[in-house]
Symmetry: C2
């Protein structure tokens, strides 16, 4: 085992160079223009899995973006781990706020800077490298391993969802290992046992059939931008509670133990506000910030557009205004049920003077895992060994839609061994990834595979 | 006089070709990229004034876009008319909704289609041509005439405002003649005796210093897009009354005579709604549509943008969201006073969790003119003669900021002899101008110059 660890430590520089190559591919899954890049990213992963020593490595075409699969089942009697990751990335706008181009990775201050660095290329890469180390040193792995790497995580994982449903025996495993979450803080080994779900909607309000002069027509017709603003404003009350009828009905209450565990983390609200550059935090009345992010549902307008948005003035009443609204869900909220509640409520808010189109863009179920299964215990010990500190358990505000599917269809616990940081600008300009965590992630992965075989 | 009219009628086709040339120049005043086109449009007007026979034609440079001036003072003892127009035009977005390119004018169905056709290139052009006809036929004009044509009407007329203040004796006149408003309906000769004013503002709400992942951070910070929506929603109540404190204090009430005159126009609310493509009209409770447009102040969001507005989904909390909000004012509201009231109220609506920037983009005073001065009476008779129908008097919802300045500084009545139609898509894609009105406008202009000399 020491040799495996030594091998990983000695090859750091080479791995960073390989990661750079991976990060140079603009595999933005939501953008049709980047379809070739998506294919290139999938091919890159295929090649790296083959080089690592995995068997049966293949690209699986889907109706959407391709999946990459690889397996090694040479440890009979030992458990099987399914390792998941995604090679697709978020869009890069606003591009002008990036200090260096998002797909020209650079190493600076012990971090690697590029779109996808922490979400999820850098994180998923550690497992390919830990497997490689075992093959190079031992010629085999301590447990059976399958990889399934997708290219649609940022747009709803539709193809993988379908693939899992139709290929449960191929993906059969005892645990799923995923690195696509965050450490609680720099250098603190962390396992995440709960994720929020998601319900992402689009509202389009149409008024007059063309843009109108706001002088000649102002006052006579409903203005779609004003109507849209009114609709959005009515989705939350003054205590920042969501006003959609029945919205909170299925929400599982925070346990006393969780409340205490969270409190013990001594989270600094002031430090958090400062890091985000806001004078004051704001959220649902009656909850702490960690509770608001981890265990309470929320609603955000992710984008809004309508009318004249250039420099200066244009006196129009826009014909149309559109907003993207998403809700983060918590156990046991059901995104399909929430979608219907949202649609019904928004329809009730729109006057007859406008036309309304509501579209469900994507959804994800929230999840919670027990902390005491063998895979999770192995992972906690592995991270403790790699980081030299006791592993803490936390929840996470983001969603990994596919995690619920793994959990439900494969009936296996998911180990969320995230090694990113929430401050690493995932989904924002200047995304980056701590290279020390990159190294500790590889070691954690290797220790985990070993621990889990014992 | 008959010969003058005959000359104008015989030269229609030539004038349409000249207008096409004028409309081919993309003189968008708000766009820095079009500075050359602005200069070209000014030169075009200069050339046409010279060709018409005006004296002392010159381009006057300003800190903004140039003015074009021309005069002919060869009728001592007769009144002096100052003719105003503007050669600048509105932006063209959304460009994809234009049936033909906005700066490639085409004639179709008796109309000319291009940006600026009705607002204001086509309308101002009729006066240049009526003057030309007098010079060609009579060698002189029946009254003294000055032209002042500007290039900043769509962005607030700042340079002309300044020029008028500093050159009152140069611009001295007995009446100002302006064609930049609309006929009440197709073929109905109309004079406009009141215009609404304007107060155009921009609100920028900034939250976290960067875009944030709405999963990892959602619920913990104020979302600028949600806050902006809330602010906008609070500017009007459920009866579509504006909620800014003291907003209605200076509003002059509609007279009983006006109420009756408006009613006599038999305006079809149903036809209006149908033409705009809306199922229902919507406006301030307690007023008819004409009253809402002509004599009541209004508030519209002219544009809004923030966060991810592309195709699909991006789960961000935007760092910033911006809206353009304008209010149409009526006598005796003061745009400067309204600006302050707006700022104070909007500030009171923003939580401490965001930063707020409020910018006044431009403003205009509302105006009302008496209907019985000699210039207006001459104009009413002129239009009646040209159109063959009795001239009606109406008010207009739009603003021509400069009209107040003419009225105040030059102490002269303004004759608003508009020959456009509000349905001609001014400020929208597919702007056009009725060529029959173009002809009748020239005749009206010629009859007016003659009548006013008597």
């Amino acid at each position: 085992m020491e040799e495996v660890i030594g091998y990983l430590q000695n090859n750091q520089e080479k791995y960073v160079e390989e990661l750079k190559e991976f990060l140079s591919i603009p595999s933005i899954s939501t953008s049709k223009e980047n379809k070739n890049d998506i294919n290139n990213a999938a091919s890159f992963v295929e090649r790296k899995l083959k080089e690592a020593g995995m068997n049966r490595v293949e690209i699986i075409q889907t109706e959407g973006h391709p999946l990459v699969y690889g397996e090694w089942l040479g440890a009979p009697g030992k458990p099987t781990v399914l390792i998941y990751g995604h090679y697709d990335v978020q869009p890069v706008d606003p591009i002008n706020l990036w200090s260096n181009p998002p797909f020209e990775p650079v190493v600076k201050n012990g971090k690697i800077w590029a779109r996808g660095a922490t979400d999820d290329k850098g994180q998923m890469f550690v497992h390919i490298k830990s497997v490689e180390a075992f093959f190079k040193i031992m010629g085999s792995l301590p447990v059976n391993v399958k990889f399934i790497i997708e290219g649609e995580e940022e747009i709803g994982s539709e193809s993988l969802e379908k693939f899992i449903s139709q290929n449960q025996s191929m993906l059969k495993c005892d645990a799923v290992l995923i690195s696509d979450t965050a450490l609680y803080d720099k250098g603190i080994p962390t396992l995440t046992y709960g994720l929020r779900g998601l319900c992402y909607m689009e509202i389009e309000v149409t008024g007059p059939k063309r843009d109108l002069h706001s002088g000649s027509f102002g006052g006579a017709v409903a203005n779609p931008a004003n109507v849209l603003a009114k609709i959005i404003s009515k989705l939350q009350d003054k205590n920042n509670k969501i006003t959609i009828p029945h919205f909170y009905e299925d929400v599982v209450k925070l346990t006393k133990k969780e409340k205490e565990d969270f409190k013990a983390l001594k989270f600094s609200e002031r430090g958090f506000a400062k890091e985000l550059g806001v004078a004051e935090l704001q959220g649902e009345k009656g909850y702490t910030t960690l509770e608001r992010i981890w265990v309470r549902p929320t609603l955000d307008c992710n984008g809004i557009i309508g009318g004249f948005t250039g420099e200066g003035a244009k006196t129009v009443i826009p014909s149309k205004a559109t907003a993207k609204i998403s809700m983060r869900l918590v156990p046991n909220q059901d995104p399909q049920k929430i979608t219907k509640q949202f649609e019904k409520y928004v329809k009730s808010l729109a006057p007859a003077s406008v036309k309304l189109k509501i579209k469900a863009i994507h959804g994800a179920y929230p999840v919670l895992f027990p902390q005491d299964n063998p895979a999770t215990l192995s992972a906690a010990a592995a991270m403790q060994k790699a980081f030299g500190k006791k592993t803490i358990f936390m929840r996470e505000g983001g969603s990994i839609p596919i995690v619920t599917t793994f959990s439900k269809k494969l009936k296996a616990p998911c180990v969320l061994m995230g090694i990113g940081l929430n401050s690493e600008n995932l989904h924002s300009p200047n995304e980056h990834f701590d290279l020390n965590h990159f190294k500790l992630g590889m070691l954690s992965s290797a220790y985990f595979l070993n621990n889990y075989s014992l």
